[in-house]
């Protein structure tokens, strides 16, 4: 059963990703990307990681994609502003052939990984309680360091945006 659900979600994720790079209009690409994100959220749920599932939907599908759509609409690009892409699919085809060796190599590397049990872990693995326990004990320092990182990004964005006006 889990395999079937996984297969369906994986197909959705791939179709969404393919749509994202092949659509001509950025809005369609963004909407197609949401399909991928939702499918990934489903895969997280399948792996009994309810917290990641919720975060994936709230943060990625909710916040980030809305922001991207907002920016695309804000810029108000017209059909005539899009670059002409005459040989798009041919170049995509040859590009993927070019990347094929790299991908085969990575897949081979993953296939040769040491044997681990691929069973889905029992309840309590990915819920908020156990996750926050890890996050706020063993991973406290990286967690706090990320807040510095976000502060830097914030200060940097404000400084650069303010520079424009003067």
């Amino acid at each position: 059963m889990a395999d079937i659900v996984f297969a369906i979600l994986a197909i959705f994720a791939l179709v969404g990703a393919f749509g994202m790079i092949s659509f001509h209009s950025p809005i369609h690409s963004a909407l197609s990307f949401i399909v991928t994100i939702l499918a990934l959220a489903g895969i997280f749920a399948l792996l009994s990681a309810p917290f990641l599932f919720a975060v994936q939907i709230i943060v990625y599908a909710g916040a980030i994609m809305v922001l991207m759509l907002f920016i695309i609409m804000f810029l108000n690009v017209r059909e005539s502003n899009f670059p002409k892409e005459p040989n798009k699919f041919i170049s995509m085809f040859f590009g993927s052939i070019l990347l094929l060796p790299v991908n085969i190599f990575i897949v081979r590397a993953f296939l040769k990984m040491p044997e681990k049990s691929m069973e889905i872990v029992e309840d309590g693995f990915g819920n908020i309680g156990s996750l926050s326990m890890e996050l706020f004990t063993r991973w406290l320092l990286p967690f706090e360091a990320i807040s510095i990182l976000l502060l830097v990004a914030l200060v940097g964005a404000v400084v650069l945006a303010r520079k424009e006006e003067s």
């Binding site: 040769k112 991973w139 360091a145 510095i148 830097v152 200060v155 940097g156």
Partner: protein, 493 residues
């Protein structure tokens, strides 16, 4: 893990060096909220004070080397590299007190971001946890991109965007490499990864290779090792001279420390292709950068390529991997730091807001022609830095080169040593090109005024200090080497 965690097991003092600078940065932002339009010298002095305080705390640190559930690792090379980072920052921040006023130096955020950047580098070097290293790397990089973009020139923005896009790619590679090693060993700690891989005799090889290749790409970007070096000249050219000089020293020492921690375990594996990959990187980086530097028409771009070639030279220490080589890496970088500080400060002094000499370049070679007739002291000092960078005895960088080459010979890398010597000889050519322009050509400018628009007492003092260190390096190479070797041995490299 037990529910009860004792406070002393966290080893909070190990975090003090980062905490002081985070506090300093927040303090500067808060002051700016309360009092507007403070003078740039106030912010500069404040930043330098925090850095000096930090340096004192760092040197006085005598706690355990691990803290915070093993996410912090304050060993010998961490302390040593943090000292280099802090000293370099303490010299590069006051370069903002130039004669001309620049908008970015009036902003409190410039200094706050600068301190945050130092914190990022400190996290990077004082941990062997790939996640903490990654966060440190990103904190430092994001601050650096913003600092470059703040400089008020069209090219500065271009440089920042170029650096940002390439940096984002490198960050992706780093994350992918960490992922592969985590999938392989179930840990993101470099020493645990090492233990697990050793036990398994580095099988499966293809997975280790994939992880290593991505790590080389990520660190190679920071160190500007040849396949991923293309951003360097453009970014250096676009950013202001102090930041370009800073970029050629501090991010690289942080990158070297991570590379040292990471590749030491792989070199120890006796996998022959790993050695070949590193060997190839070192040789190509040194040689190609040197040959490209020969044809540059701009001094800043020439210095950019020269810094790539110096990085390639020093990367050989990681390939050799003995204690002598690793100590040589730090010795080389300390000496190179002062020399490059001087060279880029000189470019900062002779900065002119218009491109008077060339449409395209800001510091073409012709700008410096006949400088000795107009300003003998300036030309001589610049000449000293060029001699030092070229590795002429008895100036500073020569001792670093000598020590690294002898390390190569001692561990049987004879061909590598020959290539290093040949490259040093090639490098002399382009440094001497500037000397010929300065000393043997006729001046193009009628007055020395165009060269001095940005000179101030602070800048002159910094250049003077760098000159004294470069000239008298022979006196303190021995003590520095003793200290460095002690620290390197303490941390087991």
């Amino acid at each position: 893990m037990s529910d009860f965690i004792s406070l002393s097991s966290l080893n909070i003092p190990s975090l003090l060096p980062m905490a002081i600078l985070v506090f300093g940065a927040l303090f500067i932002i808060c002051i700016d909220l309360a009092v507007k339009n403070l003078n740039r010298s106030f912010y500069t002095i404040l930043s330098v004070l925090f850095i000096v305080l930090d340096l004192g705390v760092l040197i006085g640190y005598n706690g355990a080397s691990r803290g915070f559930f093993d996410t912090v690792l304050v060993d010998g090379i961490a302390i040593l590299s943090q000292c280099i980072i802090l000293i370099a920052s303490a010299f590069f921040i006051p370069l903002s007190l130039s004669n001309r006023h620049f908008k970015e130096y009036e902003m409190a955020e410039y200094y706050a971001l600068f301190l945050f950047m130092i914190v990022g580098f400190q996290f990077m070097v004082s941990s062997d946890n790939l996640i903490v290293i990654f966060i440190g790397l990103e904190t430092a990089s994001l601050s650096l991109y913003t600092l470059i973009a703040l400089h008020n020139r069209a090219k500065a923005f271009e440089a920042a965007i170029k650096y940002f896009t390439m940096g984002a790619l490198a960050a992706g590679f780093f994350a992918l490499s960490s992922l592969i090693f985590y999938a392989l060993t179930g840990s993101v700690e470099i020493n645990t990864i090492e233990a697990v891989l050793k036990e398994r005799e580095f099988q499966p090889l293809s997975a280790v290779l994939a992880g290593t290749v991505f790590m080389i790409a990520a660190l190679g970007f920071k160190l500007s090792v040849v396949p991923s070096h293309t951003w360097t000249p453009d970014v250096y050219e676009g950013s202001s001279a102090p930041l370009a000089g800073y970029m050629s020293i501090v991010p690289k020492i942080a990158g070297f420390v991570v590379a040292m921690r990471f590749f030491e375990m792989l070199i120890a594996s006796d996998i022959i292709w790993l050695e070949y990959i590193l060997y190839g990187l070192v040789v190509i980086t040194m040689t190609l950068a040197n040959i490209t530097a020969l044809v540059q028409e701009d001094v800043k771009r020439m210095l950019a390529f020269s810094s790539i070639s110096h990085a390639g030279f020093v990367l050989s220490a990681i390939l050799i991997g003995t204690t002598q080589a690793n100590a040589g890496l730090f010795l080389y970088w300390i000496l190179f730091m002062f020399t490059n500080l001087g060279a880029f400060s000189m470019l900062w002094i002779v900065r002119h807001k218009n491109n008077l000499w060339d449409e395209r370049y800001q510091h073409p070679f012709s700008k410096f022609s006949g400088m000795v007739k107009l300003m003998p002291t300036t030309a001589t000092i610049m000449g000293v830095f060029m001699f030092a960078l070229a590795g002429m005895p008895p100036f500073s960088v020569f001792w670093g080169k000598l020590y690294l080459i002898s390390a190569a010979v001692n561990s049987g890398f004879i061909y590598l040593a020959v290539i290093m010597v040949v490259n040093s000889a090639i490098a002399v050519y382009y440094y001497m090109k500037l000397m010929i322009y300065m000393f043997l050509k006729e001046p193009v400018a009628n007055t020395s005024a165009v060269y001095e628009t940005n000179a101030s007492t602070t800048l002159k003092v910094i250049v003077g200090f760098a000159t004294v260190v470069t000239l008298s390096a022979v006196l303190f190479v021995e003590p520095i080497l003793n200290i460095v070797t002690k620290f390197v041995i303490l941390s087991g490299f």
